[in-house]
Symmetry: C2
């Protein structure tokens, strides 16, 4: 039986932490031809090579030429701020859909250099959508964030919560969601988009070959904990910002979700954007309304929160490292509890996030101890 030709899907920021795990997840399905564009502002090309390597090794013995092709990502080094760089990708052949992951993502930095954030996160997104439209590519999965909720009035947080970001970074996400919603409303027969609001992606691929390797000192708790456990930052003690929040143990609570569960959410979103359904599809007909704009936003989280202290305990268990920490004052802008209400993605996409905290920490620690210097590149 002849194989269906592969749908070409572009992952922007494909070499980054989340992007590279999405790329790998797509490669492993052998259903897509995956392209990536990344300027390696915060990532290394090796991530993409490892993804192709893992997917190629997973091929069955009787793999066809098309299967082999589907296991290798087509990688473009380019800047989304450059129209020419993006057009080069689209000139390589018709692209069916885009998973738009690339962005600047440091909350603190975003208030220091807001123009860079607005340019890369908003300006470049508008330009990408224009180029997609010029090439007849009308489907986007967008990497949004729980930060769009600001300080949510209701926890666990449902998608119906009014968006009210409290940082420049968060505002760039709200703006892009708004633009996508308006675009889908204007062209209900053409554009479709799904925003996925990530809670706290954590962990690494179980092979230990891929994981998070941010440039510079990690801004997020888990990668910081794992880098401390391999001996980095020994001279600057770990800081816990506030233990007087209205939470279980007084420290901030976040909803950690395994990066592989999160990545799988993108497969479901791609299927929801498509007119075709896989056999045994879990996509509900309610994803898009019959009339009106085909835009939807979903939380991707487990629906269970973990406090800072419980994360330290879990990473101690995984790595054996005895963490020392100082409890200091609250940090401006920290929200006490960001736990997702994941019901909508469960109901409409058939999404679930079964991987538990213990495995997130084990997988993270495997990656970190196998690759103490990350991808080992500059």
């Amino acid at each position: 039986m002849a194989q269906q030709p592969l749908k070409r899907v572009l992952v922007t920021g494909g070499a980054g932490y989340i992007g590279s795990h999405i790329v790998l997840t797509l490669l492993l399905t052998r259903q897509y031809k995956v392209l990536s564009i990344d300027n390696h502002h915060n990532s290394f090309p090796t991530a993409l090579k490892r993804a192709s390597q893992i997917a190629t090794e997973a091929l069955p013995e009787d793999a066809t030429a098309q299967d082999r092709d589907s296991a290798v990502v087509e990688s473009f080094t380019g800047d989304l701020n450059s129209r020419a760089d993006v057009e080069k990708v689209f000139a390589s052949g018709p692209i069916w859909g885009v998973i738009h992951v690339a962005a600047l993502k440091a909350v603190g930095e975003s208030s220091e250099i807001p123009l860079d954030y607005y340019a890369t996160n908003v300006g470049a997104t508008i330009q990408l959508l224009q180029i997609m439209q010029e090439h007849g590519c009308y489907s986007m999965v967008y990497s949004s964030s729980a930060t769009v909720y600001g300080t949510p009035p209701l926890v666990p947080i449902p998608e119906t919560t009014p968006l009210k970001a409290e940082s420049v970074y968060g505002r760039t996400k709200v703006m892009c969601e708004t633009i996508l919603a308006d675009l889908c409303t204007a062209y209900p027969d053409r554009w479709r988009a799904i925003s996925l609001r990530y809670f706290n992606p954590a962990g690494a691929h179980t092979s230990g070959l891929m994981g998070e390797d941010p440039r510079g000192k990690p801004g997020n708790l888990l990668p910081l904990l794992s880098q401390i456990a391999i001996g980095k930052y020994a001279d600057s003690p770990l800081k816990v910002f506030g233990n007087d929040y209205p939470t279980r143990d007084g420290t901030c609570v976040r909803d950690y979700i395994h990066i592989l569960d999160l990545a799988r959410g993108h497969l479901l979103a791609l299927e929801a954007l498509s007119d075709e359904r896989a056999p045994g599809s879990t996509i509900s007909p309610d994803v898009f309304p019959k009339e009106g704009g085909k835009y939807k936003a979903y939380n991707l989280g487990k629906g269970h929160g973990q406090s800072v202290l419980s994360m330290i305990a879990a990473m101690h268990k995984a790595s054996g490292f005895e963490y020392k920490y100082d409890i200091i004052g609250r940090r401006v802008g920290d929200v006490p509890d960001l736990t997702a209400d994941p019901t909508l993605a469960q109901k409409e996409l058939g999404f679930s996030a079964p991987l538990e905290l213990e495995q997130m920490c084990e997988d993270l620690w495997r990656w970190q101890s196998m690759n103490p210097d990350g991808y080992g590149e500059q």
Copy 2:
């Protein structure tokens, strides 16, 4: 006594209705060297020639070479979406400040082609700010709009009303205001910006040489009324959308402000952005806080609303034309009453809008009858 060198000020969209009257107002002060960039998407180059002509004729007999230079606008034909076009303007010499007027502005159209609106109104603004920053130009007066208030909970509308635009066009204005506020907060010693939220600019320069000449059928009431009075659109009767609003006579109420009063508001805003004060300056030290971001938004309106029916009556009085109109159903998106609370601009900028409705209509009618085909260009 030697003259101070002129501050170079760029007016984007300088050939448009509002832009050309701002340009003229600046030229007449002989205090600035005025530059314009416009792609003539919705305007004609003649507007700028007329502005230079009026200002040159107004020069005193003993005008210096610098005075003569200050009466002529330096005009660039270029697209704000093109980095190269904007950079060409900045390459012409140091620019002290930008009055950013250029935008797409049709509310209805904005929901049909949202990407064009987001690109021109938001993407190009981000790029303009980047180019300004690269050239050490840190002052902007931004053309915002009463539409940022959506359906306001309180009328007359104070600036403290939460922004909640109800159209794509309005959202582009809110986004740009947000970006400017974040930029000024990040660089309190560098960036300064003032957003001017226009209510309904109306009328024309008293010479009859300059006025509003939109391409296509006017979207706004007053220019439509004046074009009808000179005999256009005779076959399609004037439509009044709804007479059952909770207003004096049931038709929608807007706050019309003479275009020359509005333009003068930009002179005051430029002065407020500057460290220098003109003799007899009306700018209050309260415009910007001592600490924190130097960003402020002001309403520019008269603070008196006029209903659709009273505008028809006023234009009848000015033109003598007997308008026939059909009262039809409400139009989606129309807000009953948009009247400014102009107190803040009065108090902090010393702004006032003394020109009355009668004069707006007379000036408009003079322009229209002297130029039945506008600037007469294609």
